[in-house]
């Protein structure tokens, strides 16, 4: 008998996306540009994070008609965002047939205590994390893919670097910790013990880990890949730049050849202006998206 929605099937799709770039798009036309540039998937949104940040107010799941139009426009997988804890938005996205749900801090959280029980769904989820404990809590809730949170909509990669380094550092710590000390370490990380054991056995997260939040250039993408992530999300970085086609293509090539400075030098040329960036210290504490989620 065929079994759908098993954890293996859920994390399997993320594994197929490795070494690739997932791009935020708000129209079918943008989705086609992304697919032509070589994106492995698109994230269907009503507004990119930079515009959400600028608009303020409450950010919610996109209008289903936008998501469906984007699904009809491309053959690559389509992801969409639900608010943290908003399991009904997630039910709607599953009913629409999106391929992955991002329970995302870019939208305004719907629950200040609890994330969605992602085991209850057939469709897989990706969640943001700043450190190993947060990543393993999300996986414990059923996430089949992790990404750094970074600071979305800023075009500033510094927070994504911080989060990726933190996760890799804590993985090394788990790998080097003797088994009898792992329960205490789990407690300190706020992570499920069984998953900490799994990290020790594998020497990495049990699911794919992408970089997200502030990636704006091919060099940013390659930096994140060299720091150890499995692939790249680019939010505002592409369609807020002045030549989205060229930039999208360049970031795809930089992600594939992240270790080849010659290729990186070639693809980084003549891309026009990148998106305008934001210095993190100018963002008020309560407007930092990365602090959403627990």
């Amino acid at each position: 008998m065929p079994e759908q929605g098993t954890f293996r099937v859920k994390k399997g799709l993320a594994e197929m996306l490795k070494g690739g770039v997932i791009m935020d798009v708000t129209t079918p036309e943008q989705a086609v540009i992304a697919e032509k540039a070589g994106a492995v998937a698109v994230m269907a949104l009503e507004r990119v994070p930079a515009d959400i940040r600028a608009a303020g107010g409450v950010a919610r799941m996109a209008d289903p008609s936008i998501i469906v139009e984007i699904m009809d426009a491309v053959t690559i997988p389509v992801m969409a965002k639900a608010r943290i804890g908003h399991f009904v938005e997630a039910q709607i996205l599953e009913a629409l047939g999106v391929d992955y749900i991002d329970e995302s801090e870019v939208l305004t959280p719907a629950d200040e205590m609890y994330h969605i029980n992602k085991h209850a769904f057939t469709v897989p989820f990706v969640c943001g994390a700043r450190n190993l404990g947060e990543a393993l809590r999300r996986i414990g809730e059923g996430a089949a893919m992790i990404r750094t949170k970074g600071e979305p909509g800023t075009g500033n990669v510094v927070e994504a670097v911080r989060h990726m380094r933190m996760v890799m550092d804590e993985i090394r710590q788990v790998t080097n910790t003797p088994e009898e000390e792992l329960m205490t370490l789990s407690k300190n990380l706020g992570a499920p013990y069984e998953l900490v054991l799994e990290v020790k056995r594998l020497g990495r997260l049990p699911v794919v880990n992408f970089a997200a939040g502030g990636i704006a250039t091919p060099a940013d993408a390659a930096l994140m890949m060299q720091l150890g992530c499995d692939g790249i999300f680019v939010g505002s970085g592409i369609f807020k730049s002045n030549n989205p086609e060229a930039r999208a293509r360049a970031i795809v090539r930089a992600t594939t050849h992240y270790n080849d400075a010659q290729v990186l030098a070639e693809v980084s040329r003549d891309l026009g202006e990148a998106m305008p960036g934001l210095e993190i210290s100018t963002i008020r504490k309560e407007e930092r998206m990365q602090d959403r989620g627990w």
């Binding site: 065929p2 799709l13 594994e15 690739g20 070589g38 997988p77 391929d99 469709v123 090539r253």
Partner: protein, 191 residues
């Protein structure tokens, strides 16, 4: 034996793990020059549109076809099956076209419809093979030189043509090495 895994995009790590566990050497291939000295090549699962574009741009199509004529064996999983197909239903996307098969992309639907199941695969022995299908294609039709190795729900999901092998499912997503071992036996001309 040295087996390359096309590492432009996709689940390269899982295939490398499987090849290493068969006692062979796995090499990541990012440039056409790295095809030198390989006994076999795996085109992994991933997005066939992405992998195809990058293959075209970095000169892989002509280089691989040349090596294939010299005897390079190739195994494609999922996206790899699509790239090996001579014909892709409703698509003009770039491909190797080395196998006389017609591939149907996303044939089972979206991720919601992805599944795993036990398959009877006679060439692998009696024990069924746990097969993971992720937004998988199937093979709609095959030419006379193609040997059908497995079907699911009356659709062809595993096929061989000489030294070329293609599966719609992902054996690298399980710990069962029998498909990879079968590919190695093809490379050694044992089957």
């Amino acid at each position: 034996m040295k087996i390359g895994i096309l590492a432009l995009q996709g689940d390269v790590r899982e295939h490398a793990w499987a090849i290493q566990n068969t006692g062979n050497e796995a090499v990541e291939v990012k440039k056409a020059s790295q095809l030198e000295g390989l006994a076999g090549l795996i085109v992994p699962g991933g997005e066939s549109t992405t992998i195809g574009k990058l293959m075209e741009e970095y000169g892989f199509f002509s280089a691989i076809k040349e090596k294939a004529e010299e005897g390079l064996g190739i195994y494609g999983t999922c996206a790899g099956l699509i790239l090996l197909a001579k014909e892709i239903a409703g698509s003009t996307q770039p491909r190797l076209g080395l196998m006389d098969i017609v591939a149907q992309r996303n044939a089972y639907g979206r991720q919601r419809e992805s599944f795993e199941t036990d398959l009877e695969i006679p060439v692998l022995g009696e024990e069924p093979f746990r097969s993971v299908f992720i937004r998988a294609p199937y093979i709609e039709a095959v030419g006379p030189e193609v040997q059908v190795l497995a079907t699911y729900d009356n659709k062809i999901v595993f096929a061989r043509q000489g030294r070329f092998l293609a599966s719609a499912f992902h054996p690298e997503e399980t710990e069962d090495l029998r498909v990879h071992r079968y590919f190695i036996r093809i490379l050694k001309r044992e089957v």
